[in-house]
């Protein structure tokens, strides 16, 4: 962040110097050309997303309405389908996953950041390997295990798996953030007789809000968007979360696009709102950001 700021200010200096060499005119024209190019590219890229929104706002199938945009599809979806149940299930699963995942990753990330031994290196390696494994390998044995404990077709079952699959990346992300907090702050506290746990809570965690937010958003997206685990474990429609709900609804009503897209908008809205409000904490890469930071 700070390096970026430095190079930006250097850019500014360079551009301020530019007029003296008489090159200002072609540069501005170039920048407007690039602006146009970006505008076209962005528009093309966003076609599928804009289409979802526009189709959901069209008059419902067989409706007499002539208005260009209506909320009929949404009214129909909420009154005739289980989408509210799915939304509630998705919210519950995602919130629990995020909270547990951060609560587990916050102390474990501290170990990765501050520990200096072969064991910690091994721990770090295991986490990296775990995050690269195909989840389908774990899903099959877990299905058999969960069947014995009655956890198939329950929200608890998929929460456990989501926590397990977000955890390794979450720990890495927290560790990468702790690395940027100087250990001298904690040492000062230890000198004063503060315990490691106390300094962790009062110094490290207190200064890690951006890191915690990034980790939470990462877990949120993973739990909210996952399709495979939900598809395997959830069987009855009142237990569905939105991904399986949207997909099953799509298969049953594939010609009624307005209705299908209304359900899709319901699913898309929470992550997009989160993104709009907290986009500076979005760590698109998750583990990528953590790795590149080292």
């Amino acid at each position: 962040m700070s390096t970026a700021a430095v190079s930006e200010s250097a850019d500014a200096t360079a551009s301020r110097a530019a007029p003296t060499t008489g090159k200002k005119e072609p540069e501005t024209r170039g920048s407007w050309l690039r602006f146009l190019a970006m505008l076209v590219i962005t528009a093309v890229v966003l076609v599928p997303i804009v289409a979802v929104v526009l189709l959901s706002l069209r008059p419902a199938l067989g409706s007499t309405s002539t208005a260009p945009f209506t909320l009929e599809n949404f009214l129909n979806v909420f009154s005739q389908t289980e989408v509210l149940t799915w939304l509630k299930n998705s919210m519950l699963v995602t919130v629990v996953t995020v909270v547990v995942s951060v609560a587990v990753a916050a102390p474990a990330g501290y170990v990765l950041s501050r520990g200096r031994s072969q064991l910690v290196s091994g721990f770090s390696l295991v986490l990296f390997v775990v995050q690269s494994l195909p989840i389908v390998t774990a899903v099959i044995p877990l299905f058999i295990l969960f069947a014995q404990f009655g956890l198939v077709d329950t929200l608890t079952g998929i929460m456990i798996i989501y926590v397990g699959s977000t955890m390794s990346v979450a720990i890495w992300m927290m560790a990468a953030y702790y690395d940027s907090i100087p250990i001298s702050l904690e040492e000062a506290a230890w000198m004063d007789g503060c315990t490691v746990f106390g300094s962790f809570l009062r110094i490290v965690l207190r200064n890690s809000l951006p890191g915690i937010l990034s980790t939470a958003i990462f877990s949120f997206l993973l739990a909210w968007n996952d399709y495979l685990v939900a598809l395997v474990f959830l069987r009855s429609s009142e237990k569905f979360v939105l991904p399986v709900g949207v997909q099953s609804f799509f298969q049953q009503n594939s010609t009624n696009w307005g209705l299908v897209m209304a359900v899709a908008v319901v699913m898309m809205l929470p992550p997009v709102i989160l993104f709009a409000t907290l986009n500076r904490y979005f760590s698109v890469g998750g583990i990528g950001g953590s790795l590149a930071g080292q």
């Binding site: 962040m1 970026a4 430095v6 190079s7 250097a10 360079a14 540069e27 920048s31 407007w32 602006f35 190019a37 890229v45 997303i49 102390p107 474990a108 501050r114 200096r116 295991v126 990296f128 195909p134 389908v136 774990a138 099959i140 044995p141 058999i144 295990l145 069947a147 798996i161 926590v163 955890m167 100087p182 250990i183 506290a189 000198m191 490691v196 110094i203 200064n207 951006p210 890191g211 968007n225 399709y227 495979l228 395997v232 939105l242 991904p243 997909q247 594939s254 899709a264 699913m267 992550p271 997009v272 993104f275 698109v284 890469g285 583990i287 990528g288 950001g289 590149a292 930071g293 080292q294």
Partner: protein, 352 residues
């Protein structure tokens, strides 16, 4: 990403707290990070800086200080270790054991040795899936990298509404795959969809994107690039931002062409981030289930079936647990080897 403001605050409180001059060195560190010298910027540029944090301050790692005791660290890691054993390690071991049996989702079955592996490896469907997985991964990684890098380079220049574009272009990554797959289905799947109509209007005849095997493969790959390029764009933008602009000034003075500057200066300086993003995208692509399954379900006639989709179909649609787990386990084995080797290469500088 350094919370400089916060840190200064806690430095101040620490100094105040013990009444000694403890805060001073830390303040100096912070200042060092915020105004790096050209040499430091070069080092940092090569390492790359991203959202996860700007990494440890240089020189901090080596210093041997009294830290938290191993027992406390173990207590900190305990919850994650338990979950790791239960949700990640146990299934892996169980899957290995299961791949040697002819069981089902309900019964354990009998021990059959390497029979499942033999069946899988002699099945042409497996090799077809392997072939498509490789194609999908290569196109997914390099396609999204090329697009992402081009956009990152474009956005690095002065453009009005720059930040707005950056945010909007991340949407394909933020929108759930289920939603975008539904939308892509609307765009390409039926004869009434916009894309086939467009193709017809352009005189290409009746194009059925998901019914023709080759076109379905291309469509799935393009869909994957569409989803993944924001990841690459962000990784590359973060790496580019950490390249010192003085380097470009020097290149300009030396009269280097734009292409030469890109090839000989920019790319080498962001090579580390590039390498890491390739590795991660490879892992994402190989493990990708929903992108393919939601758009084509692996069809037509298995043309877009990747190994993950094949493993899923074998177990949960054909109910052949043994062979399905064997496929998953073969993938797992390859991925473990790849990720251990790559991990060592990435981190060797630091600890290993």
């Amino acid at each position: 990403m350094l919370p400089e403001h916060d840190q200064d605050e806690s430095n101040a409180s620490a100094t105040h707290h013990d009444g000694r001059d403890r805060g001073a060195p830390a303040v100096k560190d912070v200042r060092q990070v915020s105004t790096p010298t050209a040499g430091q910027s070069l080092t940092r540029a090569r390492k790359g800086v991203a959202v996860g944090g700007s990494g440890p301050p240089p020189g901090k790692r080596k210093a041997r200080r009294p830290g938290p005791s191993p027992l406390i660290l173990l207590a900190f890691a305990a919850p994650s270790l338990i979950l790791l054993l239960l949700i990640n390690l146990y299934p892996l071991i169980y899957a290995g054991w299961q791949s040697l049996r002819d069981g089902s989702l309900i019964s354990a079955g009998d021990f059959v040795g390497l029979e499942n592996y033999k069946d899988v490896l002699t099945d042409p469907v497996f090799w077809q899936a392997t072939r498509f997985t490789v194609i999908f991964t290569v196109v997914g990684v390099f396609g999204s990298w090329a697009v992402g890098l081009a956009l990152a380079l474009l956005l690095k220049t002065r453009i009005p509404f720059n930040t707005g574009f950056k945010v909007l272009l991340l949407l394909p990554w933020v929108v759930p795959v289920v939603v975008s797959a539904t939308s892509w289905n609307w765009l390409v799947a039926t004869p009434q969809s916009p894309m086939p109509i467009l193709a017809e209007a352009l005189g290409l005849g009746n194009v059925l994107f998901l019914a023709n095997p080759l076109l379905a493969q291309i469509t799935v790959c393009v869909f994957k690039v569409w989803i993944s390029f924001p990841f690459m764009m962000t990784m590359m933008a973060a790496a580019l931002a950490s390249v010192d602009s003085n380097v470009y000034e020097a290149a300009k003075v030396d009269g280097a062409s734009k292409w030469k500057t890109l090839k000989d200066i920019t790319l080498p300086m962001i090579s580390r981030s590039t390498y890491i993003s390739w590795i991660l995208m490879t892992i994402f692509c190989v493990n990708d289930f929903s992108t393919i399954f939601l758009l084509t379900g692996g069809g037509p006639v298995n043309a877009t079936q990747s190994l993950v989709v094949l493993a899923y179909v074998t177990v949960f649609q054909n109910f052949q647990t043994g062979p399905g787990v064997a496929i998953a386990f073969l993938m797992t084995f390859v991925l473990v080897v790849i990720s251990v080797v790559l991990y060592r290469r990435i981190r060797k500088v630091q600890i290993l």
